[in-house]
Symmetry: C2
Subunit: 480 residues, 2 copies
């Protein structure tokens, strides 16, 4: 059996191993006996369910409807858009037989569903009255992964992919940005993860997109995780797939389209944003268990009965106000339970024992700071609810402070190199060429994360690498 | 454009075509450009979401936790249980390459996940303290289908599969039956579909199971749909996959296991149970839209404004009491809207026009009976809520009456033949041999549906087919 108190590598020693240890000790996921795939265990999956619940409601508020499209895509579909096939072909798992019978045409397992969805939209869309067409699906996709990493990069992952058609390019582009805003708000308000929203440079765009918008989060090692993207295709994709509508003027036209998605990768980002050397730390708004009640039990049966009656009541009271509460009555040592819930990142631990009984009080221990407060039971529900809010805010503020501290503006290549090597996000002038991006990547393993919306793009000056005239101000960083 | 009022074939003319017409005219699903697969359109998918919401809550009440296992299964896993591989191998879509690279071992797309889940359970399960282990996943599965039929039989379908491990065989068998009870209650209480619960005969069992329990529903053509199954494996499956726990006596033992599932096929059953020659009929408790408000609009703008203000308020009031309400303000003829919602099976249509304004009333039209009632707006929410209950009950009662009328008990082969050919469920004595089942299937295309729990199994007498001594009393029928 594992020594439960010492099984997590320190972040400062080996960040990668720490990440895997946190996942393992919180019982979230494990590698599957299938190349690059993972098994999402109940505790990890419960986080995904919470993510789905919140996002799904947000999509529906925007008028988006869910549907379901086939897992398999005829291989010929993928070749209709040249950039798209080039981007995905080498990662496509391909079905070539059923039982022992060879198929006439091979099918690929969807790496993303643009091709089959556009083929369908071509049938669904008839008139300008059908616009906008706003569709989403929650599903599994597959992109073969040679260097898998739980949640962050797996051959199969779970995601949602939204696909929409619009009357004008302007409307489509706005919608793509609106959905990015949904992702940003969700990550900031629920995941307590500050993100930088912006546009990808040309070479980092989704295969076939005219514009790719992204939200980028900074991990505790200074590296970036791309936490969600939203693409604007103009009318190009629709045209390749024959998606048309009859306009008011009786002309057939191609709609402008978008697609946007987030995946189980967000869980990896969540872990690396908030967790510490004791294990997982979860923001209350996304935690499967927000409060765990751990009673102090003794060998006196009468006393235990009273304690258990009281904590039962506390559980009922907290559930009544909508707090996801778990009462841990297991026959185990207090310390063992404490470590377990700590490693699982439960935001608040409520301790209650015989001594508290007389004083009508309990202890609330915060997972984020370790701080303990004694609280009168008469005010308990209010105190717990306030504390959960406080933890949610603290986690966001803490992560934001870190991100700000580790984002530096530079003007020289020397500063740039140093800042990247010290694990920062680096804001710098860039000449907009693929060549420069390629060189920087080769030399420093840093890539353009995005052209941030919030940074003034009234650029003058020289590119930090080439010295040529700068086109944009970009955030560079190393990334997962 | 389709003539919206006459596009549905009559049930009496061609039941199969009627079924497809209902799906098409309600805009629920369509065939995909992938052999045997379907695209579930938003209206069909919304029904699946409602099904998931209710069932998922019921599973969680039983202590079941959701998780996610890989889509792909190493082909070698399937061969570990001889019956299991024999049952599924010919239908397995197989991945043999990624991009242009051949794989070292081929992977099959899960037709069901016992093999990969048991491989995982072998790692998860350590001690008797870990029991029971109750896991479920919602996912897509694939069983290649040569004669596909929307919802009922598709190469890919959506389902849930529960997999559990228990300390004793008795506990596992009880749990398998408990989950069947969950399915039965769900179908009767929410889908308004009466089902017959029972055990499958040996030849109809799930590949590898010791016992398969089933719920069977009768369609309006007298044919059966198997709407859900629950399997008891004893310790056999666990033993094949090395799933063991350390018992109190320090011995390693195999747990007894179960699996159970329902799928999008239930939507096919829902359609064929309740719908009529006008289109889809949905039970209120599962309908994406329970009440559609269709205002009568005129060419007088002032009047329209008043009408729209009132129906807006009605929409708000109904939503407030939890009724899924849609206000149809589109600029279309009243009749056209009416037909559309009729074909979509919305349980209640609320009509409101200028004349109703003065009288403070509206009209409620029932989809199930066509009946219209004038209702005072002061009592509207209560009236609507009562009416939805009434429709729910009526649909169930109507389907149950039909099922009872079309279930006949016979003693002779002549009676049996006639009853089957007239499209009944037939209760008869049966000798329990595979041989007899096979012959009956060949001669009459009828199969054993189940050994019903509700029928006294104190059997004496002769088998209706062989004349040999009867072992059980079984329901026979033709099926989908």
């Amino acid at each position: 059996m594992k020594d439960s108190s010492n099984s997590i590598t320190k972040r400062s020693e080996d960040f990668s191993q720490w990440y895997l240890d946190v996942i393992d000790s919180a019982d979230m996921a494990e590698h599957a006996p299938v190349r690059g795939c993972m098994i999402i265990k109940p505790y990890g999956y419960a986080i995904w369910e919470n993510i789905q619940k919140v996002l799904d409601a947000k999509f529906k508020e925007k008028g988006v409807q869910n549907a379901y499209f086939p897992l398999l895509i005829p291989e010929s579909f993928m070749t209709k858009e040249a950039d798209h096939i080039e981007g995905f072909a080498p990662e496509c798992a391909t079905v070539t037989r059923v039982g022992s019978k060879k198929l006439e045409e091979d099918y690929i397992i969807r790496p993303t569903s643009e091709t089959i969805i556009y083929d369908t939209f071509a049938k669904w869309l008839e008139s300008y009255r059908d616009l906008p067409l706003l569709i989403n699906q929650w599903c599994n996709v597959m992109r073969w992964e040679l260097r898998p990493r739980l949640f962050l990069r797996t051959s199969e992952f779970l995601w949602q992919e939204g696909h929409t058609c619009h009357y004008t390019s302007e409307e489509a582009d706005n919608f793509a940005r609106e959905m990015l805003e949904v992702y940003k708000d969700f990550q900031q308000d629920f995941m307590a993860t500050p993100v930088i929203a912006g546009e990808k440079t040309e070479s980092e765009r989704f295969a076939g997109a005219l514009r790719t918008y992204t939200v980028e989060a900074m991990m505790q090692d200074g590296k970036a995780v791309q936490n969600g993207t939203s693409h604007f295709f103009g009318t190009g994709f629709a045209s390749h797939f024959g998606v048309e509508f009859l306009d008011k003027d009786n002309q057939l036209k191609n709609p402008a389209t978008t697609s946007w998605g987030v995946s189980t990768r967000m869980i990896g980002s969540l872990i690396m944003t908030h967790s510490d050397d004791l294990g997982l730390v979860l923001p209350p708004k996304i935690a499967p268990i927000q409060v765990v009640i751990v009673p102090f039990l003794s060998n006196k049966e009468d006393q235990n009965k009273e304690v258990l009656e009281k904590v039962n009541q506390i559980e009922i009271d907290l559930k009544k106000i909508g707090v996801a509460t778990k009462l841990d009555k297991r026959d185990m040592r207090f310390g063992e339970k404490m470590f377990e819930w700590e490693k699982k990142g439960v935001p608040v631990r409520l301790e209650f024992g015989p001594k508290d009984m007389a004083k009508n009080q309990c202890v609330l221990a915060r997972r984020d700071t370790g701080e303990k407060t004694v609280v009168n039971l008469d005010n308990l529900t209010q105190e717990v609810s306030d504390l959960l809010d406080k933890i949610q805010t603290n986690l966001f503020d803490r992560a934001l402070k870190y991100q700000k501290e580790k984002t530096v503006e530079v003007t020289t290549w020397e500063e740039f190199t140093k800042a990247i090597e010290e694990g920062n996000f680096v804001v710098a002038n860039y000449d907009g060429t693929k060549e420069t991006e390629k060189k920087i990547k080769e030399e420093l393993k840093a890539t353009t994360r995005c052209i941030p919306f919030e940074i003034e793009q009234n650029v003058s000056g020289k590119c930090v690498y080439s010295g040529n005239e700068a086109k944009v101000r970009v955030i560079f960083g190393r990334s997962y």
